[in-house]
């Protein structure tokens, strides 16, 4: 295409952006006129112009025409024309979806062409676009191409990966079925390329439904064993720089990480042999000096180590892995040092290897000091954080603090958070903790986020024994001439609360304290000044002798007439308060802050948010593993759940009396108790939306029978039965009056989102028992005092979160009555309980370790915390209650399977009561994010 080459060199020769735009506009005009011209363009010209458009688009300019011509190219029988057409579509298609049916038609023709090159082009295009529309059109066709006996190998490969791609974006559209079993057998295929592609596909599918692909374990082990023991020459061009099939090996090892260690002893020892062989090979001299050789070889090694860590069951392998990584820590390749630090982080969380990892502490600290590359140093910080425990916390915190002095600005905040967490977590005495945090502020004040200084205040307030020390230390720290504003905040707050504890010493008498704080007042920002004003009013209460001094300050123009409204208001209110209130009132209003309720550390939440879910070993999490022993479990709480609370929420939880001093602006905020929905239940003429009682949601989660609605006229009762994904509800309508209901009818509606899930299957069968007629009466009447029964059949298609609404309509005494009640059909009704042993439970728990699979919530108990009631509620929820699983007998653990038409979703739950705090923590892990969330929402309202 000479025209294209000429155009590209023209563009490259443009001296300025303007010249380039001019040249492009000229070209666009030319192409437009060609496309619009009377003369039909031949394929070659069309290809050339489409290619030019593509080039222009890739330069970053918008293209708003030419899509049709590109689609036309798909039907060309010339390969390159077709190819350009497909390329244009895969790069630009989402912007122009009205062509999708034409495109799909082109793809369909090529898939049916039996020409492998054309079929591959079509499959690549589906994979590249990967949109829902594509999935809808082709997801059912591709599996048959994949497993058909006469499909060419190269097409099989494309089909496998194309399916993988569609499964990632639209898993609901890729039907499971008979083909899945045949895909597993592709692991035995002669063609290693096919095996490689199939392994990728199976890994993705097995992550979603492990049970369906369990048979792949033995095939994968066998295949892996053949590869690692083969002479490298056997695999011909699948040998990469003297390493036998590194891609396939890594993929097989990844596939095995979807499962626990094989139960079959022979299989298990064969796998162990493979892993040992891989570890042994690391010690052999390299077969080539090329970096590609060592990279490929070590890629397999690191993946094998990842599998060993995942299984977490063979102490010898774990320790060998740790030693191997230890060697890499001092390797001359930076890449290997980086990866060794990264892998060791996960190894540190295994009880078998935690101690072995700790032996490398000096090397890691050295890396922190000497590595030239900041990303390697960052991994060293991560590893120190992961290997920290009570025995080495002082050393690690000290090293991190000293590194902080010259650390790169990009990672300072994270280090600050980590130091703050470790200091709190492993504080044997809180004086060390207070010292550490004040040091943090001194060294890296700018990077100490609000959460960190909130937390130190929370802890000082909650720990009586450290208050005096804290007051003394902040007082001393404030003496330095250039102290950081964050220190002033902490100092102001702590002296305001506990300044009296050091007031006996003449060197820190009330007036000295006040003068010290006030000397810095004018240099700081408005929020800090506001905080200091609150500290001053607290001083007035603590030390009556400084009252006149402080009143003078409050009275000064710079406060009373401050341009900032908040400062002005505080000054005025505090001044008035100090003038008119009696000592008793003042003492009550300005009482010492009550302890903060126990909750997740705000710093930890911040770190999680910063690092993204699943990256931070959660220190607070009880560490679960098979032996109930300690383990740094990966925290998987979704970030949206752990967004750091705001200032007000954090320092001033709403559910306790608020000291008036802190912020006058929030005094008016009322208690946000939810209004009780009983009124809705009794309101017979309420509109459908409002009448749909909220209570049904809560009351009927754990029970199936009862009255869901009652007013002076009508009572609606339910009996329901569920089996797997099917349910049957008997609805009883009782006429409470002595006269007839006329035109009685009922229907079930649900929101749009639910329609797809349930509504098509809600079949209504209105049965009038007295007449014993199984059809809907034309003009049914319900006699006074009579009861009408209706049967609803329900089928759950896929998981849902909406509740269907039952609408009842009838005429009573001349007026039309409309009643809408929520039907208690929730996702948990489709539970089948699953009994399992403690070992199985923990294995599954670990398998469901992907961050999105876990949902956790911490909430306040609404009812008395009675074990028997809780047991009954969990059973009523539908899961099996597993005893003897949780190391703490006070905790509740349950397991069950949600049945929907297409899939089954395994669910594990854990409820941890904390009777002292009257709080619960509920954790749900299921293979599906939406299910975890919904179940968590439902169950958390029950206690």
């Amino acid at each position: 295409m000479r025209g294209l080459a000429v155009f590209i060199s023209d563009i490259r020769n443009c001296k300025s952006k303007e010249a380039e735009v001019k040249r492009i506009n000229k070209e666009l005009a030319n192409i437009r006129s060609k496309f619009k011209g009377d003369k039909a363009l031949d394929g070659y010209s069309k290809k050339k112009y489409v290619c030019k458009l593509l080039f222009i688009f890739l330069l970053g300019h918008d293209i708003d025409f030419g899509h049709m011509e590109a689609v036309n190219l798909l039907s060309s029988n010339k390969y390159t024309e077709k190819q350009i057409g497909y390329l244009f579509i895969s790069v630009l298609v989402n912007s122009n979806s009205d062509l999708i049916s034409l495109i799909n038609n082109g793809i369909k023709n090529d898939l049916a062409s039996r020409n492998p090159t054309f079929m591959n082009l079509a499959l690549h295009c589906i994979a590249n676009v990967g949109s829902r529309e594509m999935a809808e059109a082709f997801a059912s066709q591709i599996p048959s191409i994949l497993v058909a006996g006469d499909t060419m190998d190269s097409v099989k490969q494309s089909a496998a990966l194309c399916l993988l791609r569609l499964n990632r974006t639209s898993p609901d559209l890729v039907p499971m079925g008979e083909w899945t079993a045949r895909v597993v057998h592709l692991l035995n295929d002669q063609h290693l390329g096919v095996v490689t592609a199939a392994t990728s596909l199976i890994t993705t599918l097995a992550q979603k439904s492990p049970e369906d692909f369990r048979t792949s374990i033995s095939l994968a082990v066998a295949r892996l064993s053949r590869i690692v023991t083969s002479a490298s020459i056997d695999l011909q061009d699948y040998t990469y720089y003297f390493v036998a099939a590194p891609w396939l090996s890594v993929k097989l090892l990844r596939l095995l990480q979807c499962y626990p260690p094989p139960e079959d002893a022979a299989l298990r020892s064969r796998l162990t042999e493979c892993l040992e062989t891989i570890l042994n090979k690391a010690q052999e001299p390299p077969k080539s000096k090329k970096v590609q050789h060592s990279n490929a070889k070590n890629a397999v090694l690191f993946e094998a180590i990842a599998l060993i860590i995942h299984h977490d069951s063979e102490p010898t392998l774990l320790v060998r892995a740790c030693n191997q990584l230890g060697q890499f820590l001092q390797h001359r390749e930076t890449n290997l040092r980086y990866l060794a630090l990264e892998s060791m982080c996960t190894l540190a969380s295994s009880e078998f290897s935690h101690e072995a990892v700790k032996t490398h502490i000096d090397t890691v600290i050295n890396a922190l000091k000497t590595e030239r590359d900041v990303s390697v140093r960052q991994r060293a910080v991560d590893l120190l954080y992961a290997m920290c425990d009570r025995s080495n916390s002082k050393q690690i915190v000290a090293e991190m603090l000293s590194y902080l002095e010259n650390a790169d600005y990009s990672i300072r905040e994270e280090i600050v958070l980590k130091v703050a967490i470790l200091a709190e977590k492993y504080a044997v005495d809180y004086t060390w903790y207070v010292d550490t945090i004040l040091n943090l502020i001194r060294i890296a004040g700018d990077h100490v986020s609000e959460e960190v200084w909130y937390r130190v205040i929370q802890i000082v307030i909650n720990q009586d024994d450290v208050q005096g020390y804290a007051a003394k230390t902040v007082f001393e720290a404030l003496q330095t001439p250039a102290c950081h504003e964050n220190l002033l905040k902490v100092g102001g707050y702590i002296l305001g609360e506990f300044g009296n504890l050091i007031a006996g010493d003449p060197r820190s008498s009330p007036l000295v304290q006040f003068n010290l704080l006030h000397s810095k007042f004018h240099l700081c920002s408005v929020p800090t000044r506001a905080l200091l004003l609150s500290a001053y009013i607290k001083f007035i209460n603590l030390f009556p002798e400084v009252k006149p001094t402080i009143q003078d300050v409050l009275r000064s123009d710079s406060q009373l007439r401050n341009a900032d409204v908040e400062l002005q208001q505080r000054a005025i209110e505090y001044l008035r308060l100090s003038c008119i209130a009696s000592t008793d009132i003042l003492a009550t209003v300005l009482e010492e802050m009550p302890p903060f309720p126990e909750r997740e550390s705000s710093i930890l939440a911040k770190l999680k948010k910063k690092k993204g879910p699943g990256k931070v070993p959660d220190m607070d999490e009880a560490r679960w593993n098979v032996n109930g022993n300690t383990e740094h479990s990966e925290n998987t709480e979704p970030t949206n759940k752990s967004s750091p609370p705001s200032l007000v929420a954090d320092l001033l939880p709403t559910n306790r009396p608020r000291p008036a001093s802190y912020s006058p602006t929030i005094l008016s905020a009322g208690n946000m108790a939810p209004s009780h929905p009983f009124t809705d239940l009794l309101n017979m003429n309420s509109s459908p939306a409002a009448g749909a009682s909220l209570l049904v949601d809560v009351l009927f989660v754990c029970k199936n029978n009862g009255v869901i609605f009652e007013n002076q006229l009508l009572q609606i009762g339910l009996k329901s039965e569920y089996r797997q994904n099917l349910g049957r509800i008997y609805v009883f309508y009782g006429n409470k009056t002595s006269s007839q209901f006329l035109s009685f009818s009922s229907s079930v509606t649900s929101s749009d989102t639910l329609k797809t899930h349930i509504l098509p299957l809600l079949r209504l069968l209105l049965t009038d028992l007295s007449l014993n007629v199984h059809t809907m009466p034309v003009d049914p009447t319900v006699e006074g005092g009579a009861q009408l029964q209706q049967i609803l059949n329900i089928e759950c298609l896929s998981d849902f979160s909406d509740t269907p609404v039952l609408n009842v309509q009838f005429r009573y005494g001349g007026t039309l009555q409309n009643i809408a009640v929520k039907l208690p059909v929730m996702l948990n009704k489709f539970f089948q309980p699953t009994e399992m042993t403690s070992e199985d439970f923990f294995q599954r728990w670990k398998q469901l370790g992907v961050p999105q699979q876990e949902v956790q919530t911490i909430f306040k108990a609404q009812h008395p915390m009675d074990t028997d009631v809780t047991n009954a509620k969990i059973l009523g929820f539908g899961v099996a209650l597993l005893s003897g699983v949780d190391p703490n007998p006070a905790n509740f653990v349950g397991a069950g399977v949600i049945h929907t038409k297409n899939t089954q979703v395994g669910c594990l739950l854990r409820l941890e009561p904390n009777p002292q705090a009257e709080m619960y923590r509920l954790t749900l892990r299921t293979s599906r994010e939406s299910v975890s969330q919904r179940l968590c929402d439902l169950l958390s309202e029950q206690f």
Partner: protein, 153 residues
């Protein structure tokens, strides 16, 4: 693998491939961030970075940076070899490939990539198999006469 970007030392994007749906705005942001991050790296630093929740693996070949974004459980070293294998394939096809080849034959660069990676996974690891399919495709091109007889505009 989530994406693959090729850009020059001067910050000119030469090839972009996204393996998950990404909005245009987000693409621009990722591209900008990648160039800022990668071009600022010292020579002989390690080839890996953490960025948001992704692992970035990059490598410089002559004037071009090859930069890929991996998911958390992807293998970094192997990704490095994916980049290398792609360079080898380009080299084999163009014969001592240089940046200009990729500029003037960008459609071929995309095509070779498609033959090698789909959905971010390696489709065919054998160099022989990939180059065979490319040769086969090339024989499907028009003959030279056909090519020469076309007008350029």
């Amino acid at each position: 693998m989530r994406f693959l970007l090729l850009f020059s030392r001067q910050g000119k994007l030469r090839l972009q491939k996204w393996f998950t749906p990404v909005s245009d705005r987000e693409k621009k942001k990722v591209i900008r961030d990648m160039m800022l991050l990668v071009l600022a790296r010292q020579p002989r630093s390690c080839n890996f970075l953490h960025w948001r929740d992704l692992k970035i693996v990059y490598k410089r070949y002559a004037s071009l940076y090859f930069c890929s974004g991996l998911e958390n459980n992807d293998n970094e070293l192997l990704a490095l070899e994916v980049l290398h294998r792609y360079v080898e394939l380009l080299d084999k096809y163009f014969g001592n490939v240089c940046e200009l080849d990729l500029i003037f034959n960008f459609e071929k660069a995309y095509y070779i990539l498609d033959e090698f990676l789909i959905g971010g996974e390696v489709l065919e690891t054998s160099k022989v198999a990939v180059s065979d399919s490319m040769e086969e495709a090339d024989t499907l091109q028009e003959t030279m006469e056909e090519y020469m007889s076309k007008p350029t505009y």
